[in-house]
């Protein structure tokens, strides 16, 4: 029998019995991030050394664009979970905590979408 008072049970306190999916997602994104980061560093160096038109062509080329999109997805998922853990560890006041958690998702979504938009624009558009 669980050692919980009725109030604790109603408020949902105690073990969450979940978190494995976050643990796994962090491990998955970490492992994926290592080779992707190495490749992206190479791409950035190549683009930095090229002129404007060549850099745009490089980032917009199919393989590079796909790898970059993958990297953005991996980074955004990873950073979202990471920041969520930081918030949960340090922010306890209910209003601040909820606001921070929502802002975390908003920031991750906006930054991710901005990167995806830019890459797709370079790949498909002018």
């Amino acid at each position: 029998m669980a050692m919980r008072t009725p109030l604790r049970r109603v408020r949902g306190l105690g073990s969450a019995h979940e978190g494995t999916d976050h643990f796994w997602m962090q491990r998955l994104t970490s492992v994926a991030a290592v080779p992707l980061t190495i490749v992206v560093v190479g791409v950035v160096l190549a683009a930095a050394g090229a002129d404007f038109a060549a850099a745009r062509a490089l980032i917009g080329s199919p393989v590079v664009a796909i790898v970059l999109l993958l990297t953005v997805a991996v980074y955004v998922l990873h950073m979202h979970i990471g920041m969520q853990e930081i918030i949960i560890d340090y922010v306890h006041a209910p209003a601040a905590k909820i606001a921070s958690l929502m802002l975390n998702t908003a920031f991750a979504a906006v930054v991710g979408l901005a990167c995806v938009f830019a890459i797709l624009k370079l790949a498909f558009g002018s």
Binding site: L45, A48, I59
Partner: protein, 110 residues
């Protein structure tokens, strides 16, 4: 011990620093109107400093992450091994950052 909090701090720095590649990609995509000022920003001494810091944070967080993955697999959990891994993370991150930036200058990229 401090390596763990540094891992968290570099993670948080990279989180906000994600704005840097986002800005650069957007500038590339939108065109010279955005790219000119962004290039100047990144080319300024402050911009360069921030980019070098971002590079170091990325390298340190990556190596620290590998360290955690090694631990996840059950290896390197003795005090001596953990110590060695911590030093490898710190020294490796500095070496990689220096190699990347010096290499970029040497190759004429920057």
């Amino acid at each position: 011990m401090s390596m763990s909090i540094v891992h968290r701090i570099t993670g948080a720095a990279l989180y906000f620093g994600m704005l840097i590649p986002a800005l650069w990609l957007l500038a590339l995509a939108v065109g010279p109107a955005w790219f000119q000022p962004v290039q100047e920003l990144f080319g300024s001494w402050l911009g360069r400093l921030i980019l070098i810091g971002y590079t170091w944070a990325l390298m340190h967080h990556m190596l620290g992450g590998i360290r955690h993955l090694i631990w996840d697999m059950g290896y390197g959990l003795t005090l001596e091994a953990a110590d060695a891994l911590a030093w490898a993370t710190l020294i490796g991150s500095i070496v990689l950052t220096a190699a990347l930036w010096l290499g970029a200058y040497a190759l004429g990229v920057l």
